[in-house]
């Protein structure tokens, strides 16, 4: 570990927090329909859209209506994207003449982009046309992120008021999240990336002559815009297969700083926005602290593990940290921070091969996803996931102050506990269930490219990444098989919607409750005590269940490595 390495990482995180506070306030305002700096330009567009769609943005929806609108929209888009991927050969903007995807792959890919996962069982530049990338995938990068932000706003409103039925209007939330938050930020970031050398063109490829005189065809495309929303929307689906490690996606250390910042920005801002929504900023800051402390701890652990390197290689005379699978222009510190950030948010973009991380580095990535993507998690999904944990923390420990537990004046009772547990159950069911099934079937075992504990980690990573809607992968796993295409599509579906629907029901239940006044007898949910408690609950309730699986994967691999054993 080096001072420069720490400096880089701390600079990135400091910038994130510095931006999160003003952006959070802005997000809270625009999602409430209040005026903002962009209103003069965007108000007419927004209203035009409402008129076109016949939507009355002030009509409140109960949780059922809200969930129905959200599910129907996502279902329609899923079908549309599926059709687009299947039919891309006949659709415009296909200069490379790519054939349509197979039904299996198209289903997996469509599910992947609708659920904000961006698991890529295909290589972008050799399987998806420019048209499919721009109009199919990039559109869903916006849509899935906006869906998450809308749901987060809906549950936040449930805490803000008492005795109400409506959670807001889904269509208005979706339009505002896209128009006021995602689009402007994407424009700013993509222009900055353009300036740093990221291409944005409709040309298929460029031809170059290498130093040896050989001809080389370099794939090009509308990269910068997709790169920006890929990170801001915590999507992660790269234009190129090498993702953000590709020089055209992420050319310099500076662009890498911007990209790392972009992927953390909105999830952290939403914690601050939460404080504004519930009219108690300290609550938002407390959630941000929980997210930040956990991210910091895990990112440091990853950095330490990567910098320590592999003793087996040291014995062979290769000194230094683990550079396998890393870009030299980024180095160990930036790669470790990016790996932690991309798995802590549900982004899944990579600048280094996670498969080549040290066992403990890989463990950090796995564990951050298994916590349910809450530190800080995906756009919106991070906040609502965190709120589920906050409710559970308040319920477990809240009794200790001698009152029926309440969070922000809302009593946490049987119905809330039931819905929160239903949501939380999805993670072990899909991650551990899927991994176990894959590891005892021939089809699953055939996908592995490693034996021993690392093979287990590869499979565990795939199911974890899909369920947590992350999308990053331990490369080397052959994911385009019947079992994994269909199975992971199901995992992505469960991880997104089997979590979201109970959360919206929870929001409905909370909204209908009276908002109790707080007093000296109220459980305090800001301040260091609650931050520590929530961290403990996330680690014990959210993480501990995965310890047996992890001990057979990365933990066993780590100790085997120390013992000089290979597989």
């Amino acid at each position: 570990m080096t001072m420069i390495g720490w400096g880089q990482s701390l600079l990135t995180l400091t910038l994130v927090f510095a931006c999160a506070f003003p952006l959070g306030r802005y997000v809270a305002r625009v999602m409430s329909g209040d005026r903002s700096v962009l209103s003069p330009v965007l108000r007419p567009v927004e209203h035009g859209l409402y008129v076109l769609a016949g939507v009355n943005p002030t009509r409140g929806m109960g949780w059922r209506g809200y969930a129905l609108a959200l599910l129907m929209l996502n279902a329609a888009h899923f079908l549309l994207l599926y059709a687009m991927l299947r039919l891309q050969y006949w659709l415009p903007f296909n200069p490379q003449g790519f054939a349509g995807m197979s039904p299996r792959l198209a289903l997996n890919t469509a599910m992947s982009f609708v659920t904000n996962t961006n698991w890529q069982a295909y290589a972008g530049e050799s399987a998806a046309s420019n048209g499919a990338q721009m109009f199919g995938l990039t559109v869903h990068n916006f849509l899935s992120a906006a869906t998450g932000i809308a749901a987060a706003a809906a549950i936040s409103r449930a805490f803000a008021a008492g005795n109400v039925q409506a959670l807001g209007n889904f269509w208005a939330d979706l339009v505002r999240a896209t128009l006021y938050i995602l689009l402007p930020l994407t424009l700013v970031v993509s222009v900055a990336l353009l300036a740093m050398g990221v291409p944005e063109t409709l040309a298929a490829s460029a031809e170059a002559t290498t130093l040896e005189g050989a001809k080389q065809v370099i794939a090009l495309g509308p990269v910068a815009f997709q790169e920006a929303i890929k990170l801001l929307g915590t999507n992660g689906g790269g234009f190129f297969n090498a993702n953000s490690a590709h020089p055209f996606e992420n050319p310099t250390a500076l662009s890498n700083l911007l990209e790392n910042l972009s992927l953390l920005l909105i999830p952290f801002s939403l914690a601050i926005a939460f404080g504004h929504w519930v009219n108690d900023r300290k609550q938002g800051v407390a959630l941000l602290c929980v997210m930040a402390l956990l991210l910091l701890a895990f990112a440091s652990a990853a950095y330490a593990a990567e910098a320590a390197g592999n003793p087996l290689l040291h014995a062979l005379g290769v000194a230094g940290g683990n550079m396998e699978g890393k870009e030299v222009r980024f180095g160990i510190a930036a790669s470790s921070l990016f790996a932690a950030s991309t798995t802590a948010t549900s982004t899944g973009a990579v600048i280094a091969m996670h498969d080549s991380l040290t066992p403990l580095g890989g463990l950090v990535c796995l564990f951050l996803m298994q916590l349910g993507e809450v530190v800080p998690g995906g756009d919106g999904s991070g906040l609502y996931g965190m709120l589920v944990f906050a409710l559970l923390a308040v319920f477990v420990a809240g009794l200790m102050v001698g009152r029926t537990p309440e969070y922000l004046g809302k009593k946490v009772q049987a119905r809330e506990v039931k819905l929160a547990m239903l949501a939380v159950l999805v993670l072990p069911l899909s991650i551990l269930g899927g991994t176990a099934i894959s590891l005892v079937t021939a089809s699953g075992l055939g996908s592995l490219s490693n034996a021993g504990p690392h093979g287990l980690s590869q499979m565990l990573y795939a199911w974890t990444s899909a369920t947590a809607n992350n999308g990053s992968a331990f490369a080397g796993l052959s994911a385009d098989t019947d079992l994994l295409d269909y199975g992971l599509a199901l995992a992505m579906f469960l991880g997104r919607f089997a979590f979201l629907v109970p959360v919206l029901a929870l929001a409905g239940s909370l909204a209908a409750k009276p908002k109790l006044p707080t007093g000296a007898g109220t459980f305090p949910t800001h301040g260091p005590l609650f931050v520590g408690l929530l961290i403990g609950v996330i680690l014990i309730l959210g993480g501990l269940q995965f310890l047996p699986a992890l001990s057979l994967g990365p933990i066993a691999e780590h100790f085997a490595m120390l013992a000089g054993k290979t597989f």
Partner: protein, 677 residues
């Protein structure tokens, strides 16, 4: 009963013997199904026992499986034992009540107006609405309302208080309780309870835990525990596949051991004991709740409505100051006040004597030829004549009429100030000359201000209810340190106030005794009716205070809080325990495939077998170890939520994280020493 209650020790030999037997009866899976965590444990224990027995028969190694099965069965037994002990304590308390339940013949009147004509009927078959005659020496056969007669009744069977109380038709003392004894005279009582559901029956049911229903918080907690059980079930079942890939075949006993140590058996096993014990603590305070729900609500209460008289103040006016007119020494006024009050037997008069004795050291010394002048409605004065002199005291205007002159300005000012601050000024005159004023006021009970301050720290607002005018009420309110008051309160005002506060989202507790309190008692979230009150009030409230002491409302709230805190603390402890068990069991079960994982064996447990066994045994014994805490409740001191949380999180959260590491290691050392490792 109060005396009996105190006498039950935490571990009474008889209760323990009975509980041990009961804990086996409670193994019946049908009844255990109410408790999902322990139910799962029992199924798993059965499975391992069957497997162990099969191995034993077929001659395969069975010792380890049987040892684990024993550990798992102990876990289940300790859980049922905890519940049985709690119920046993309740039952012991109920026995003294049951003795009072009358099986005697009741005298049912055939005609309401003829006390001579009655039909002997077994008390247990009395129907609601029947009229019974109860005479001196009879037990009152069932709950009812006195419709005729006056009698003194010994209610010690219910209240523990042996001094008889008066029960009479009409008014606020008309309710009688079945099982109490008429000591003198007779009563005609209209039965108000259905057979088998008298107050005494309900009390017996409640303290025994027989009619216990899960409270809302318990239901929510059960869901959490069931959810955790499912999560760990998934983790353990899928581990079979993961382990198979890794080259380890996990035996069923080992998997079962892992499952049971991870699911929250500690809180699952103690949950119902905590609930029963909470009810029991209330009963020990001589308060009976009609449901566990009410006890829980008492912990949630954040507004207490307290009657001024009897709760905040002593209820009668007492001397609190002397104000002589200019030219008269304070000591002369004091002497005059004493003489004027010598013949006054009212509490006010006695309080003047006491005040002067305490403040001025003047003992009452009656002149030889003294003649008491009693209070008359005509003059509105009282006093003493002796040796040709006349001492008088009375209302200010009456005394001024006697002295005939205009009062000095200083006197008028003093009298006004006394009246404004909520007191009553009395004037004193000697031989027609005005000496000064005595301040009488309603004295706030000592220490009550501090108690209200403690309540405020706990987040509970106190509201004083009084019939006084707003000026008087405000004065007393500020002296007692209540947060709010309701002056000139009618029953409708009380009801309105409760509704208003509830609309703000607050939970209200109040106590009352009269029939006109009934609507407010019913509206309040916790309504404590006085045992001495009317039947209507007792029906409307959800608790009855057998001592009829309105200050108890404060203790009731504390007991409710203590119940919730105990439940939360043990839940936190139970969940925090899991961390250590992973470290004990995981390296042990994978030792064959990945010996390197021994690095996780931070406790340095001797062998895989002893590690797994130690975790199982710790998991079982921690339940028994915590039974006393579950029954007694965690220590409670009135403090703010933030402080409480910090303290309990430190003790039960951090303690729950660390304690099992030590406990498991200790058991492992013992197992090793005994040669089981």
């Amino acid at each position: 009963m109060a005396q009996d209650a105190e006498a039950i020790r935490l571990f009474d030999g008889r209760i323990l013997r009975r509980a041990t037997a009961d804990s086996f009866v409670k193994l019946n899976p049908v009844s255990l199904m109410r408790n999902p965590v322990i139910f799962v444990t029992e199924i798993v224990a059965l499975l391992v026992a069957v497997l162990g027995a099969r191995n034993l028969v077929s001659g395969e190694p069975a010792a380890f499986a049987l040892a684990i099965a024993a550990g798992l069965w102990l876990t289940v037994l300790f859980a049922t034992f905890a519940e049985a002990v709690a119920e046993g304590r309740g039952r012991a308390r109920a026995e003294s009540l049951r003795r009072a339940r009358s099986d005697a013949m009741a005298k049912v009147l055939l005609r309401p107006d003829d006390r001579a004509l009655f039909k002997p009927t077994p008390a247990s078959t009395l129907e609601r609405g029947e009229l019974v005659l109860v005479e001196a020496g009879d037990l009152i056969p069932s709950d009812g309302e006195v419709v005729e007669g006056v009698a003194s009744v010994n209610e010690s069977a219910v209240t523990g208080e042996s001094a008889p109380v008066i029960r009479e038709a009409g008014g606020d003392r008309s309710a009688v309780t079945g099982g109490t004894l008429v000591v003198s005279d007779w009563l005609v009582v209209r039965i108000t309870a259905e057979p088998g559901s008298t107050f005494l029956d309900r009390m017996i049911g409640l303290v025994e835990g027989a009619s216990r229903r899960k409270t809302p918080n318990e239901i929510a907690l059960d869901i959490l525990l069931a959810g955790l059980t499912i999560i760990f079930l998934i983790a353990v079942v899928t581990l079979v596949g993961l382990a198979r890939y890794s080259g380890t075949v996990l035996g069923v006993p080992v998997l079962c051991a892992l499952l049971v140590t991870l699911i929250p058996t500690t809180i699952g096993g103690l949950l119902s004991a905590i609930g029963i014990a909470g009810m029991d603590r209330l009963v020990r305070f001589n308060v009976v709740a009609t449901s566990g729900r009410a006890v829980e609500a008492a912990g949630d209460v954040d507004t207490l409505l307290l009657d001024k008289t009897g709760t905040i103040t002593f209820g009668n006016r007492m001397a609190a100051g002397l104000y002589p007119v200019p030219g008269i020494e304070e000591r002369s006024l004091a002497e005059a006040a004493v003489l004027a009050s010598l013949g006054d037997g009212t509490p006010e008069g006695r309080s003047i004597l006491a005040y002067v004795r305490d403040r001025h050291g003047i003992a009452p010394d009656e002149p030889d030829d003294a003649r008491t002048v009693p209070f008359s409605a005509n003059t509105r004065l009282s006093g003493l004549d002796a040796g040709g002199r006349a001492w008088r005291k009375g209302a200010v205007d009456s005394v001024l009429a006697l002295t005939g002159g205009a009062a000095p300005a200083a006197f008028t000012a003093a009298a006004d100030r006394i009246a404004r601050s909520g007191g009553t000024p009395l004037a004193v005159a000697v031989d027609g000359q005005l000496f000064g004023a005595i301040e009488l006021k309603d004295i706030v009970k000592p220490g009550i201000r501090e108690r209200f301050a403690a309540l405020r720290r706990m987040g509970i607002r106190t509201v004083m209810i009084t019939g006084d005018n707003p000026v008087t009420a405000a004065a007393i309110a500020s002296e007692a340190g209540v947060d709010d008051f309701l002056a000139q309160a009618t029953p409708q005002d009380k009801l309105g106030y409760i509704r208003r506060v509830q609309a703000e989202g607050r939970l209200v507790a109040m106590c009352g005794d009269g029939t006109n309190d009934a609507p407010a008692l019913a509206q309040a979230d916790v309504g404590v009716a006085m045992q001495s009150g009317t039947q209507a009030a007792r029906e409307a409230g959800n608790m009855v205070d057998l001592d009829s002491d309105p200050t108890k409302l404060i203790e009731v709230a504390e007991i409710g809080k203590q119940l919730l805190i105990t439940r939360g603390s043990l839940t936190t402890f139970s969940i925090a325990n899991d961390v250590s068990k992973y470290f004990a069991i995981l390296p042990a079960i994978f030792v064959a495939t990945y010996p390197e994982l021994q690095a996780l064996n931070v406790m340095h447990l001797t062998s895989p077998q002893s590690a797994i066994l130690s975790a199982v045994i710790f998991n079982a014994f921690i339940i028994v170890a915590l039974v006393p805490l579950a029954l007694r409740g965690v220590r409670f001191a009135p403090m703010g939520a933030a402080q409480l949380l910090r303290r309990n999180l430190l003790i039960y959260g951090l303690g729950g994280l660390v304690a099992p590491f030590a406990g498991i290691k200790l058991i492992d050392v013992i197992l090793t020493a005994l040669g089981f490792a």
